[in-house]
Amino acid sequence: MSYIKKPSAKHPRLPKNRLGLTRRDYEGALSTLCAGCGHDSVSSAIIEACFNLSIPAHKLAKLSGIGCSSKTPTYFLNKSHGFNSVHGRMPSVATGANLANRDLFYLGVSGDGDTASIGLGQFCHIIRRRLNMLYVVDNNGTYGLTKGQFSATNDKESKSKKGEDNLFESIDLAALAIQLGAGFVARSFSGDKEQLVPLMTAALKYKGFSFIDVISPCVTFNNHIQSTKSYQYFREHNEALGFLDVIPDKEEIKIQYDEGTTTEVEIHDGSKMILRKLDNNHNPYDKSNALSVLNGHQSDGSVVTGLIYLDKNEMDLHDTINTNHKPLNILSEKELCPGSSGLDFVNKNFS
C-alpha cells in the first residue's frame, strides 16, 4: 500500500542529519493510497528534503485540502502538526496559520482538483500575497478520491478510464503561478527523485511563495497511455529544464550530474542553488520567457520540468504588512492589551 514504512525499531546505522535525526524521524503513518500512487513518491521526496535541510519536524506545519493528495500529510512528518482542512480552501487556512506564527515552515499539499477547480480563487490570491510557504500540487489530472472525473489540469482530448474524452483545455498551474507573481515556480515528476528532492529543498528555503507542480500519476484512474499524466506518457514527453541543487548553510550536498551547463542561483540566506540547464536559452529570472517556455511547450505536448521561474527579490506577506518579527501567537498580554489607560484615551475621544 505504501512506499513509506512506519518506523519500526531505531536503526543505529542509518545516516543522520545535522539534528542527529534519521530519515525515519521524518516518516509518517502508513499510507492508505493505492499501491504505486505517485503521491507516495512525492511524500518520500518531502521526507528527503526535510531530512536534508535538517528541519526540526515540529517547526513545520503541514496543510492540505481534500483528496487523495490532501491525505498524504498524514504519511510523512508525524512529528509535525497537520491540518486537513476543507476542499480547496487550504490556502486561506495556511495564510492564517502563517500570520499567527511566521517562524514555522509551511508546507501545503494539494491536488489538481483541490487547487485548479474549487480552490483556484484561493490559490491565485495566496500567490498574490506571496505567502511564505511551499505549495505542492500532486497533479494527476484527475479526481482520484471521487473516482476518476477529469480535473481542470487534464489535457484536452485525453481519455478517462471509462473511455470518455476530456473536452476542455487544461489549466497550466505553473504558468498561472508565474503570471500571478509567485516567486519560485517549478515543475517536476513524482518518479524523478533526483530532480524533485533538490527542487523541494530549494523551495522550502525560499522566502515567499514557492510552487511545485508535481506530475503524479494516479495508477487507478489515470494511468493509461491516452493520459498525459500517466507514467508512460510522462517519461516519453518529459523535457527537463535543468537539475537543481541546494547548498545549505552548513554542509554542501554534492550530487553528480551527467551533462549540461550550470548557473548559480542565489537564494535569500546566502545559500546557492545550482541550476543545470538542459536548455541553454532558459533564463528563470524572466517572467515572459518563463511563460513562453511553458506555453510553447504545452502546445507541442511536452512537459517542461525544472525550475521555471525565480524572482530574486524574496519577500513575503509579513514584510508587506510589516508585522512584528516575533510570532503573533506568543505575544504577551502586555504587548496586546492597551489596558485601562488606553480606554481613557478612547473614552475622551468619544465624549
Binding site: 502538526h81 497537520g82 495564510t95 496559520a97 500575497r129
Partner: protein, 610 residues
Amino acid sequence: MSKVNDFVVKFANVNGSGSASANLMFAKSIFRMGVPVTPKNIFPSNIQGLPTWFEVRISKDGYAARRDGIDCFITLNPQTYQSDMKEILPGGYLIYDNTMERKFPRKNINYIGIPMAKICSDNYEDPRQRQLFKNIVCLGALAVLLKIDIKIIENLIKEDFEKKPKLIPPNIQALHLGIDYAKNNLDLNLDISVKKVRTTKKKILIQGNEAAGLGCVYGGATVAGWYPITPSTSLVEAFQKYVNIFRVNDENKVNAGIVQAEDELSAVGMAIGANWNGARAFTATSGPGVSLMSEFLGLAYFAEIPLVLFNIQRGGPSTGMPTRTQQSDILSCAYASHGDTKHILLFPSDPKECFEMAAQSFDLADILQTPIIVMSDLDIGMNDWVIDPLKWDDKTKYNRGKVLNKKDLDDLVNWGRYLDVDGDGIPYRTLPGTHETKGSYFTRGTSHDAFAGYTEDGRINADNMMRITKKFKKSLKYLPRSIRKKAKEETSIGIIYFGSTACAIDEANDILESQGHNIDLLRIRSFPFGRGISSFIDEHEHIIVMEQNRDAQMRSLLINELNKNCSNIHSILNFDGSPVTADFIVKEYLNLLKKNESMLKASKKKKTAA
C-alpha cells in the same frame, strides 16, 4: 406645550452631498450639552444621489430607541418632500431651503424657510464649497432655533478638521452665516429646544462596530481576515485603527496581521488557520458572508478550533436590504453548516456590550474551542449610541483555555486531542512548534477518534459527537447570563428580547407600566440558553418573544432548545428594516391582549392588598 430636551429631529438629504458630517455634529453638540441623543443614519445602498435620512431622538429620559413622529424635519431632498412631510407631528416644523419658492400642501405644521443655497452662492465661489457649506449654514440656523450652544459646535468643527486646519475658518464662517440669518430673520419661539443638563456628562457617544473593533484589540486578537461588506466593514476598520494606535512596537512593527481576503470563505479560513496556530483571530461579516462561511463553520465546530465571528446583521434574505437592520440570522447562525452542528451565540444590545463581548469572545473561543458568533446588527454597529464610558480591569488575564505547553507535554503520557479528561467535554489542545516529539496531531474535518486518528467506526464518531454536545451544554458556565427585570407587581406575563431591541423594550415597558400593565422582562445575552431563561418561561403563563425578523427565529430556538410548550409563547415581530420603536411594541402588545383574555387579565391585575 414646550418640549425641552424631548423631541425628534430628522434630516432628509441626498447622499454624497456632504450632509453626514454636519448632521453628526448636530447630534454631538446636543450630546455635549449633556442631553441624551440617539442618531440613526438611514442610508441607501448607493454612493451618491439617492435619499438618505438622519434621525435624531433627543430624550432627556435617555430613551435610545427610535420614536415615530417627527417634531422638526429638515427636508433638503426634493425627491422625498412629499412623504417626509407626512411624518411630521401636528404643530411640528418643516425646515427647507427657500432659495426657490416652494408650496407645501399640509396645513397643521410650521414652515421655516432658510435660503441656504442663496447664502452659499452669495458667499462662496467654488461650486463644491457652495454645495458643502449649505449643510453648515443649515446647522448654524438650527442651532439658533433650538438654542444649542454655538461654542460647542465651533469646537466640534475644530476637532473635525484638526488635520486640515485651513478648513476651520470657512466652516466657522458658514456656521455663522446660518446663525446670523436665523437671528435676523426667523421667529425663534419654537416649542422645541435644548437646555444644558448633565445627564450625559460622563458618557460617550460611540458606534457598536467601533467598540467591537476596540474590544478585539483588548481581547488580544492579533489576526483578522475579512472581506468588505456593509454593515460589518467599519468593525475591521476600527480594529485596524486601534492596532495602528496601540499595537505598533518600538521598531515600528505591527503586533497584528490584518488581511483583506478575496472573499468570505477565505476570510474565515484565515481566522481558523490562525486560531489553530494559537493566535486569537476573528472575522467580521454580514448575512451573505455567513452563508458563504457555512462549510468552514462546520469544520471549526467539528475539529474544535476556536474562532470568533462577528455577524453584523442586515436585512435578508439574499442581498436583501444591505443598509437596513434585522435580527434574521438567528437560526442560520445557531445551526450553521450541514450535519449536526450548534454554535455559541452572543447578543450584545449596545456598543458597550459590543466592546465587552468582543473582548470576552476570545476567551470563550479559547476555552470552548469552537466558533463564537457575536450577533450584532446594523443598528448597533453603525449608529452612535450614548453609553457609559468603556472600562477595563487591568487585572484581567486572558484565559487561553486548555492549551498544553512544552512542560505539560514533557510530563504527559497518552495525550489524546479529543479525550474528555476533565469530564466537561472540553479536550486539551496543542500548538504547532511546541514540542520536538510530543503533541503533534492531525486536525481534520473527517470523523476521528479521541486521538485525532481517522476512523470510520461510526460508534466512535457518535461518541465524539456526544462529547461535543456535552461541551456545548457545559459552555453555559462561561457565557454571559440573561438579565431579568421584574415588574412592580407579581405578573404571569414575561417578555423575552435581545440585542438592539432592548432600548425599545425598556421604553415600551415604561409606557405600559404607566398604563397599569405588569410585565417581567428577560434579555437573552447568549445561546445556548441557561436555566435562567428556562425558568423564566416556566414561571410565566404567557411569554412574548420580541424580535426583528419575519419567522420568529428566536422563539423557534427557545422552543427547540428548551423543549418548551409553544402554545403560550407569542411573538411580536418587526421586520421592515427600521429599528423597532416603543410605540410599535406597545401597540402590538395591546393587540395581543385583545386577542387573549387571560393575558389581558394577567397584565392589568391589581396588587391584592396583603
